[in-house]
């Protein structure tokens, strides 16, 4: 029997409507009632959580772990360590691997690898075969193999009929649909937001409408098929407006937001630094403001990183030629705490924890994100006011493609506990 007691933390557990300074007992990897203290055969290990928040382990439902196929960018193992270092106990990996996660054997391979990782790694499956947007992937088999959702992330099904059938089929097998919203014709060869900076720099622009068209499509299909569609990495004011209206009507639609889309604007691209190249691109200040409002009023309900590792040699090329994406697991919590709580005061810490715990757990119908007695002791200890400086060189991730190196942030995770075991501490 192993036991740990976390003393004097501010326990925030939105699922159980709990917010109080208390001790928390872990016995044999599960959350246990304090009453069990007296029955322990030995003294429990103690963790002092004075001035810290103790909350359910955070969940990031949008990461790229690159395996199988691109182990030089990240592995499931290194990505899991990065997640732990960012305060995450559960991460959901995207299917754009090689081979793509569009079949049950690839899912089995990923789950096998994930079993050895230091945090919970849950796979998603593809919507379409080889993410090509032409034929349905075996969604039922993928569900049986244990995917928590289907998505073609990195790609977007352009054929609305195919997408409609995918959403209908997914309802039958009970998996939610996540969608990367990008109309290929409107986005074209765009590498940055279409606007002032693309005009000034002559870089091909991808307009806000290229995202909004698909967000609208998804709203219509969610209504038509009566199944939930979750819009990944929402970036534009128009998308926020569409989602807000649709959710007010009761449509089963939701949206998530990445930290870089509220921390930065497309002004950053003037350096031609490819660490500012991501998809969807950094948008204008008006979009950032709308995203903040969307977070504040609940339109955007989930926070994610879109952790997208790339090797230095891949990113250190011409802007046009560089792959999209940045790593984010080890900076996202710090950025969101810094921006949403401290700088813009858009939400409180309880809501932020909800957006990282019960909201994603509900969407994916997974048993995580609570501190309920008897449940797995996955938890994150957060120092909400701790000041720190991002040092990319110290990251656990196998890649270094972050634009936030050197940035000073307020707030971070200080300890990550998975199944009662500390997997990372500051």
């Amino acid at each position: 029997m192993s036991a740990t007691i976390i003393r004097n933390g501010r326990v925030i557990d939105p699922a159980n409507k709990r917010d109080e300074v208390a001790d928390l007992l872990i016995v044999d990897g599960n959350v246990a009632p304090l009453s069990q203290l007296s029955t322990l055969d030995s003294q429990p290990d103690e963790i002092d959580a004075n001035d810290l928040i103790v909350c359910p382990g955070l969940i990031d439902i949008h990461v790229h772990l690159r395996e199988p196929g691109f182990g030089h960018k990240e592995t499931i193992e290194s990505g899991a360590r990065a997640a732990a270092a960012g305060g995450f106990t559960t991460i959901v990996c995207m299917p754009n691997t090689s081979p793509a996660a569009d079949n049950s054997s690839t899912i089995a391979w990923i789950k096998n690898r994930a079993a050895g990782a230091c945090v919970n790694v849950l796979p998603t499956g593809a919507i379409s075969k080889d993410l090509a947007g032409e034929e349905l992937a075996p969604i039922g088999s993928l569900a049986q193999a244990g995917v928590v959702a289907i998505t073609d992330d990195g790609h977007c099904v352009q054929n609305h009929e195919l997408m409609r059938r995918a959403v209908e089929y997914a309802r039958m097998v009970g998996v939610p649909v996540l969608d990367h919203c990008q109309d290929y014709n409107l986005a074209g060869s765009g590498v940055v937001n279409e606007g002032y900076w693309s005009t000034l720099l002559g870089l091909p622009g991808w307009p806000a409408a290229g995202e909004e068209v698909i967000v609208m499509r998804n709203i219509l299909l969610a209504e038509l098929c009566d199944n939930h569609i979750h819009c990944q990495h929402v970036t534009t004011a128009g998308s926020v407006r569409l989602l807000r209206q649709a959710r007010a009507r009761g449509v089963k639609i939701s949206g998530e937001v990445c930290p870089h889309h509220i921390a930065l604007t497309d002004e950053a691209i003037q350096s031609f630094d490819t660490n500012y190249k991501m998809n969807p691109p950094l948008r204008a200040q008006a979009d950032v403001d709308a995203l903040l409002e969307g977070i504040s009023d609940g339109t955007l309900s989930i926070l994610v990183s879109d952790h997208a590792p790339h090797a230095d040699f891949e990113k250190e090329v011409e802007f046009d030629a560089a792959p999209f994406g940045i790593i984010g697991l080890e900076t996202e919590l710090g950025l969101f705490l810094d921006l949403l709580l401290h700088k813009h005061a858009k939400i409180d810490i309880v809501r932020l924890i909800e957006m990282y715990t019960i909201e994603p757990a509900r969407l994916l119908k997974i048993d995580a994100g609570t501190l309920s007695i008897g449940g797995p002791a996955d938890m994150t200890l957060i120092g909400p006011d701790l000041e720190w400086t991002v040092k990319v060189d110290k990251f656990e991730s196998a890649s270094r493609n972050s634009p936030f190196d050197g940035r000073k942030l307020k707030g971070r995770a200080v300890r990550t506990i998975v199944g009662g075991k500390t997997v990372w501490r500051v």
Partner: protein, 309 residues
């Protein structure tokens, strides 16, 4: 007026001050005069190696840089995309570092990606001269355009310059806009609404879709080459309709003030953006632009290649 030049690279006109632009133009005066000498060659860059690194085809700009380098006594190597190892999958960074390992002092880069010169300038000791990057900047073309306007009209401030054509995809247009606005010209962009989005107004210029309203007031018209290639098919219906709405036809040329200059960065599509006779007419300074391009490029190579790095 700036009295010293301190840049090793020329990446674009957006980063230059008005003083620096004038500094280059004055230096170009001196180099233009070299062309009138019995020996049209000076030893300024003797012993220096210039690499013309063209990762996108160009004959005019490459030739102009090459001749400018010869006249400055530099040694020149030409590398184009077809023969360079870029096509074999080597990265731009590796190729450039190889060139530097061969002690290239000046790298003149033409590249299809915006920002490629910045990318190299940050990583190389050699001077990097942008000879056109994507739709971003083409600083020496804009400098020679400015030089030609200044030479023919004696000034730039207060002049009304119309830039006509495919602005959206044009690096020549962008560099001209930055330079002209800095030197106090009034700039009007003219072309199909798909190729001249209103967003350009935020750069301090006017946008017009009615060429006939602009021509009578222009002191300079700069016509850009219009192409109806695959990637442009969605932007305008065709060259016939383009000429009807935006071509500088013989009829339209009559709207111009008698002293209005007609410019074109070349190569010209005769009968498309400009009538053939108008291109060869008295108001045309298209060949002066070519001559001045040599002086301007000599000045740029001398300045950027002539400072200690």
């Amino acid at each position: 007026m700036t009295t010293r030049w301190t840049r090793k690279d020329l990446l674009g006109l957006r980063e230059l001050s008005a003083d620096e632009i004038n500094f280059v133009l004055e230096t170009a005066d001196a180099f233009k005069q070299v062309g009138a000498r019995e020996i049209k060659k000076v030893p300024a860059l003797r012993g220096k190696t210039l690499v013309n690194f063209f990762v996108e085809p160009s004959t005019r700009t490459r030739t102009s840089f090459e001749l400018a380098a010869f006249r400055l006594s530099a040694d020149v190597i030409n590398i184009s995309a077809s023969i360079s190892s870029l096509t074999k999958g080597e990265t731009l960074k590796d190729t450039a570092r190889n060139l530097e390992a061969l002690h290239a002092d000046i790298l003149v880069l033409r590249h299809s990606s915006a920002g490629a010169p910045q990318f190299l300038a940050q990583r190389l000791k050699a001077s990097v001269i942008n000879a056109g990057d994507g739709a971003h900047e083409h600083p020496t073309q804009a400098l020679l355009d400015l030089y030609t306007i200044r030479e023919k009209r004696g000034k730039i401030a207060g002049l009304h310059v119309a830039i006509i054509g495919d602005i959206l995809f044009s690096r020549v247009a962008r560099s001209n806009i930055f330079g002209l606005v800095k030197l106090g010209a009034r700039v009007t962009l003219v072309g199909p609404s798909t190729l001249v989005p209103r967003e350009f107004e935020k750069l301090g210029v006017e946008v017009s879709y009615k060429i006939d309203n602009v021509l009578p007031h222009a002191d300079v018209v700069n016509l850009l080459r219009i192409q109806h290639e695959r990637q442009r098919k969605e932007y305008f219906p065709g060259t016939g309709e383009y000429t009807r709405f935006f071509g500088l036809t013989k009829q339209r040329a009559k709207l111009l003030k008698p002293d209005c200059l007609i410019m074109h960065p070349g190569p010209i599509n005769r009968g498309v953006e400009i009538d053939s006779n108008v291109a060869d007419g008295l108001q045309s300074v298209i060949l002066d632009q070519v001559t001045n391009g040599l002086a301007v490029r000599m000045a740029v190579l001398f300045l950027c290649g002539g400072i200690a790095t």
